[in-house]
Symmetry: C2
Subunit: 488 residues, 2 copies
C-alpha cells in the first residue's frame, strides 16, 4: 500500500495504470494459491511478466511491489523474484490485560552478545548494528576534522539544552522535506533514540501510569517502561501493516492509557509499516483521548528503496505525535545522536532533558549538522539503500532455504532486522543457546515482549552478508531442525 502509493506518484500513472497492476497482481496471487508458483519458486522476470501480460514495465514493477508489501513476494536484487508462503501474523490478536513491564534484561543480553562478539569468528546476528561498510565513516571523519580545524573543540555548551542550533535547524529542514513542519527550536537533540524514548515517556507518563505498546517491541523501549515505573498493555503489531489500530481502540476503551508507543515505519522487530489510511485513523483516535502518540522513527531513514517515507508527524497538526528520530542506524551508533519533537509535551520533555543530563555532546552534533547540510547524508542513504536491500533479501532467502519447513520470515521494506517465526517444536531461547555454542549470536523473541512472549521467534540482523553469515544461517537452520527432531 505504502510502496504502491509511492510508485504511482513517481510514475504519474493514473487510474487506468492502477487498475492494470492490480489485475496483474491478482493473477500472480491466484498462481501462487493454486500452485503455479509454489513457495520458494522463482517468479517471472519483470521483462517476461510485462511481455507475457502485455503491460508496461512500470505496471509489472508495481504489481511485484504490491505483492512484496503483502509479504507474498521476495525481491532479491540481481536474482529476481521469489514466491513466499502467506503467513500467519505472529502478534497476539487481542490486547492483553494491564501488566507491569517485566524487567527485560537488555543489559545481560548486550553483555552476552558482547562477550560472544569478542570471540574470533563469531557471526553476530543479534544486535541491530549497521556494519562499517553501510556507514559513511570517511564523510563522518572529514566532517569532524572540518569542525576541529575551523573552530577547535566546541566548549561553551551548558546553555544549549535542546542541542546545537546548526543540528536542530538541519533536522527541522529534513523533517520539512518529509512533510512535517517543525520549527528548529522544537527539536531536542538526544543521546540516541533510546534517550528520546525515555524522555518522551517521562514527559507524557507519570510513575504508575499505563502505556500502550506495540508487540513485539524494541527491547530498549520495554526496558525504559520498566525503569520509569510504568505499566503497559501490548497491542499486536503485524509484520506487514504494523500496529493494529483496531486492537488499540479496544485497549483505549478498556484501560486508562497515558501514551501510545508505536513504530509507524519499519517496526523493530516485526518489520511492518502502518498503511497511510490507518495512520490518519490512529492519529485521530489518540488525539481524541488527549494523550500522546510516540512514534519511534529510528529506521525511517533506512528505506530499502532510498525514498524516505512520510513520518507520522507529517499527518498531525495537533501536537499529538511525539516523534523520536535517530542517526544510529544511518551514521553510527557510537555517535549517540538522536532527536525528539515532543509536540504538546515539549516543555516537559525539555525539563526532563535538563534533569537527566542538561544537554548532548557538542562536537558530534556539529559534525552531523555538517553532513546533513552538505548533502553528504542524503548521498550516503542513496548509496546504502540498495546494499541493505540486497543483504536483507539474501538473509531472508537463506533462512527460507536453510530453516525447517514451516519457518516464516518477515520482509520489511526498510530497516535491518528480520523477524523469524520458527515452526512448532523449536524453542527460540534454546536455539539462541545452541547458536551461542556454535559462535552464532541471535536475539530470542522473548526479549521483545514484557511478558516474554514469542518463544518461537528470533530476530536476526540482516545488514551483513558474507560466507560466514550464510554458513551461520544454514547452521541455525540445522540446529532448529535437530531441536524439532529431538522433541518429536
Amino acid at each position: 500500500m505504502h510502496a504502491m502509493a509511492r510508485e504511482t506518484t513517481r510514475h504519474g500513472s493514473g487510474q487506468a495504470d492502477g487498475l492494470r497492476y492490480r489485475r496483474l497482481a491478482e493473477a500472480l496471487r491466484a498462481g501462487m494459491r493454486v500452485g503455479t508458483f509454489p513457495a520458494g519458486s522463482r517468479l517471472p522476470s519483470l521483462r517476461a511478466l510485462a511481455a507475457g501480460h502485455g503491460v508496461g514495465m512500470n505496471t509489472a514493477i508495481a504489481a511485484y511491489r504490491a505483492l512484496a508489501a503483502e509479504g507474498l513476494v521476495l525481491a532479491l536484487p540481481r536474482s529476481g523474484f521469489r514466491a513466499v508462503a502467506p503467513r500467519a501474523d505472529p502478534a497476539p490478536r487481542t490486547p492483553e490485560a494491564l501488566e507491569a513491564a517485566a524487567p527485560v534484561d537488555m543489559g545481560e543480553f548486550l553483555a552476552r552478545s558482547r562477550r560472544l562478539h569478542e570471540l574470533p569468528g563469531v557471526a553476530n546476528l543479534a544486535v541491530a548494528v549497521p556494519p562499517a561498510d553501510l556507514l559513511p565513516l570517511r564523510d563522518l571523519r572529514r566532517a569532524h576534522l572540518r569542525i576541529l580545524r575551523a573552530h577547535g573543540v566546541p566548549w561553551d555548551g551548558y546553555e544549549a539544552v535542546g542541542g546545537c542550533a546548526e543540528l536542530r535547524l538541519a533536522i527541522a529542514q529534513r523533517l520539512a522535506r518529509a512533510g512535517a513542519a517543525v520549527a528548529s527550536d522544537e527539536v531536542v537533540v538526544t543521546n540516541g533514540a533510546q534517550e528520546g524514548l525515555h524522555l518522551a515517556l517521562s514527559a507524557t507518563s507519570a510513575p504508575g501510569a499505563c502505556v500502550a505498546v506495540e508487540s513485539p517491541a524494541y527491547p530498549g523501549l520495554i526496558q525504559a517502561i520498566g525503569a520509569l515505573g510504568l505499566t503497559c498493555v501490548e497491542i499486536p503489531s503485524s509484520s506487514t501493516t504494523g500496529m493494529s489500530v483496531e486492537a488499540l481502540r479496544l485497549a483505549l476503551d478498556d484501560h486508562r492509557i497515558s501514551a501510545v508507543l508505536c513504530t509507524a515505519t519499519y517496526s523493530n522487530p516485526a518489520g511492518g509499516s502502518i498503511p497511510a489510511p490507518a495512520r490518519l485513523e490512529l492519529i485521530s483516535l489518540v488525539r481524541e483521548r488527549g494523550i500522546a502518540l510516540i512514534d519511534d522513527d529510528t529506521y525511517g531513514d533506512c528505506a530499502h528503496d532510498g525514498a524516505r517515507p512520510r513520518p507520522l508527524l507529517a499527518d498531525d497538526r495537533s501536537g499529538t505525535v511525539v516523534h523520536v528520530g535517530s542517526f544510529s542506524k544511518s551514521l553510527s551508533p557510537a555517535l549517540r545522536l538522536g532527536f525528539l519533537c515532543a509536540g504538546r509535551w515539549r516543555a516537559r520533555a525539555e525539563a526532563a532533558k535538563i534533569a537527566m543530563n542538561i544537554g548532548t555532546a557538542a562536537l558530534p552534533q556539529l559534525a552531523v549538522a555538517g553532513l546533513l547540510s552538505s548533502g553528504d547524508y542524503d548521498r550516503h542513504l542513496q548509496r546504502a539503500a540498495p546494499l541493505l536491500r540486497e543483504r536483507m533479501g539474501r538473509c531472508a532467502e537463506a533462512v527460507l532455504r536453510g530453516f525447517p519447513a514451516g519457518t516464516r520470515v518477515s520482509r520489511p521494506q526498510g530497516g535491518m532486522v528480520l523477524w523469524v517465526e520458527l515452526p512448532a517444536g523449536v524453542d527460540a531461547e534454546l536455539l539462541c543457546q545452541d547458536g551461542a555454542r556454535a559462535r552464532i549470536a541471535i536475539a530470542p523473541g522473548t526479549l521483545f515482549s514484557p511478558r516474554r512472549r514469542y518463544r518461537r521467534h528470533v530476530r536476526l540482523c540482516g545488514a551483513r552478508w558474507d560466507a560466514r553469515i550464510a554458513e551461520a544461517i544454514a547452521h541455525l537452520g540445522r540446529l532448529a531442525a535437530h531441536q524439532r527432531a529431538r522433541r518429536r
Copy 2:
C-alpha cells in the same frame, strides 16, 4: 582542618610545629577580635608575620591557612592577606520536615541566562562555566585529532554500556592515585555529572522515596529529585565544613531516607568541604542504615592549590558511597563527560543507564582518555589552579569592597563559585532582576533550595576576572545598597 591536614603532611611538620602555628593563629584571631585587624584590613605579609613572631615561613603559612579555612582570612595572590568578619552560617541549622521537591525551574534559569549571554557586553556571573582560558582547549583539539587520524570515527558503540575501556581504565587509575580502589569495570561513563546524579538517584531510590540533600544544593540535583518523583529533606551545609553530619543524624532518625546526597569537597554553592573526621563519621552513619551516600565530586579536580583532595569514596570499603565525577569544570562542559562508581548499586545503575540512553558518545571519551593517560590533564590542572585561585580571590575581594556592610562571602578552597549572603533588606531575586537590566547575570539563592530558601543569597561564578567583571560586581553592590536604602 582540611587545608591544615594537607599542609602538615606536605611539610612533614610534627607536633611542635603544629603547636606553634596554632598559637600564632590564635594571636591573629585575637587581633581581629579586638580590632587590631578590622574586617577588610590588610594583614601582615608572610615574611613580616614570621619575623615578627620569630617563627619559620611554614608556620606563618600554616597559621594563615587555618584562619582561611575558618573563613577569617582571605588570601589574595600577589596582594597578601586580608581580615574578614566572622560570619553566621547561611544554612538552616535543623533538618526540615519532609517535602516534595519543588520544581526548580533550572530550564527557565538557563534560558534566561542564555538570552542575557547573547547580548553584547553582558557580564555572566550566573552559570558555573569555566572560561576558555581555564580549559586546555588546544590539548583537547589535539587529542581529538589524534584519534581521528589514527582510527577514524569510532563507530561500533552499542555494546560498551559502561563506556570505552580506555577511559574507564584512565578514570580508575586516577581514582586509585587519589586513594580510592575501584576496578575499571566499576566505572560507568555518563553524559556529565548531571546524568551521574540522575542514575545514582534512579538506582537507589524508587519513586515516592525520600532523600536527604544538603542545603543549599546544586539546582540540577533538585531538578533530578523532582523529575524522579522523589521527596526530600534538607540538611544544612556550611560554607566551611560542608553538610552537617549531626543534622543528618537527626533527619535519619526522623525520616525513612533512601539516599543521602552531599558534596564532600567544594560544595556548590556554599563552598564547604567536609573535614576528614566528619567524613568517617558520615560514612559509618549512612552505612549502618544500609542506604546510599551519593557524593557529587564535580569540583574535586578544581582544588585551588592543585592538590586533589581525597574523595569520600577513598574512605569507604563497604560500597556505601556512590561517587559522581565530572570533566565539565576541568575540560569542557560541551564534552558532556562525567562518570559514576555506584558501589553496591552498580547493577541497578548500569540497567538505568541502558534504559536511559544505552551509552555515551565514543569519540569524546577516547579523546579524554588520551589526555588523562598522557599526563596532559594533570599538567593542565596544575596550570589552571593558581589562575582560578587568584580570580576567585579577586571576585571575593570585589564583593567585600563593593557590597553594603553586612555582606558576607564564602571562601572555598576549590571550585569556581562564591556564595554571597546579602545584608538584611536586600532581596536576591530583586537584585537578579536589577542586575539583568544592567546586563549582569547572577544566580538567586532561591534556585538552590527546593523550598526556595536563601532569599538573601546569590551565587556568583568567580572563574573570570577582568574590568567588565570588576565593574559588574561594583555595580551589583550599588544596586544592593540602593535596594536597602529604598526599603528603609
